[in-house]
Symmetry: C2
Subunit: 161 residues, 2 copies
């Protein structure tokens, strides 16, 4: 049985649970502007029931909204919510790492800005300073969502400073 991570006090594990590989591929198509079941199915080559299940989960998680775009007969499409749009950043960070470290044959996909025509290269920075974040400069402190018993168990892991 797969371990469930969504109730762990760890934002990394929770997000990974949401963007497991199949969901990430569905999201990739949605980010490309594909919104309808049949087109998603054709592009991904997924079995219909598997795709239906992934989409239902992403709707349930509030990442996608299922919207009727036609009344007779009823037809639906899937649109990103604000939460879904926020996931784009995660996908960009995953993509940048993969391009740099896991694609010896070159980047499979290049991102370009419509506005400027320039290539877009995602990097992770500090929101305030817009500088790259140096692992050696960062200290982890328990936040408001960390259960006290975990802090207790963690011992000096949270007291490196």
């Amino acid at each position: 049985m797969r371990t469930r991570f969504h109730d762990w006090p760890c934002s990394v594990a929770r997000t990974l649970e949401l963007v497991e590989p199949w969901s990430a591929l569905v999201l990739r198509e949605i980010f490309y502007g594909v919104r309808r079941f049949d087109a998603l199915q054709a592009n991904l080559g997924l079995a219909r029931n598997v795709l239906a299940q992934r989409l239902a989960r992403l709707v349930e998680e509030g990442v996608l909204a299922r919207v009727e775009y036609q009344q007779r007969p009823v037809r639906c499409e899937y649109r990103l919510t604000d939460k879904g749009r926020a996931l784009f950043d995660v996908v960009l960070a995953l993509m940048r790492f993969g391009d740099e470290w896991l694609a010896p044959e070159g980047e499979p996909v290049l991102l370009m800005s419509r506005r400027t025509g320039e290539r877009v290269r995602p990097v992770v920075v500090d929101e305030q300073t817009r500088e790259r974040i140096d692992l050696r400069d960062v200290i982890a402190k328990p936040g408001p969502g960390m259960p006290p018993e975990v802090i207790e168990r963690a011992g000096d892991r949270f007291r490196k400073d």
Copy 2:
């Protein structure tokens, strides 16, 4: 059987294969500065054989290096390689999303800068402009690593502009 994504022409899927939840938790400990098997095992509460397997995989993937720090008896620790340090950005992006969208009780962990004492909040920006990347502004083009037959099959997905 789990589908293997590492040979797909998709940098997102490949990276997700590398940072599946258990590996991500091991990396979290390493980022916290924990380097020895016994300490990792105690902090994660993982079975020794499972942890050994994850560590071996991360070493094999070039994310961690196994380094002898003592000769008699031989003792080893695990250190991040450059590739491993680059994964920190991915983990930061995952964490930010989880903090914002999956932690109604508040952030489990806060990141602080040693240097400035200020809180560090990761965001994804364009490397050049240091501005947030707007999904609607981005076009995907096939890159050098995209197999021609995939471009063929993709039809107009790569020709949205």
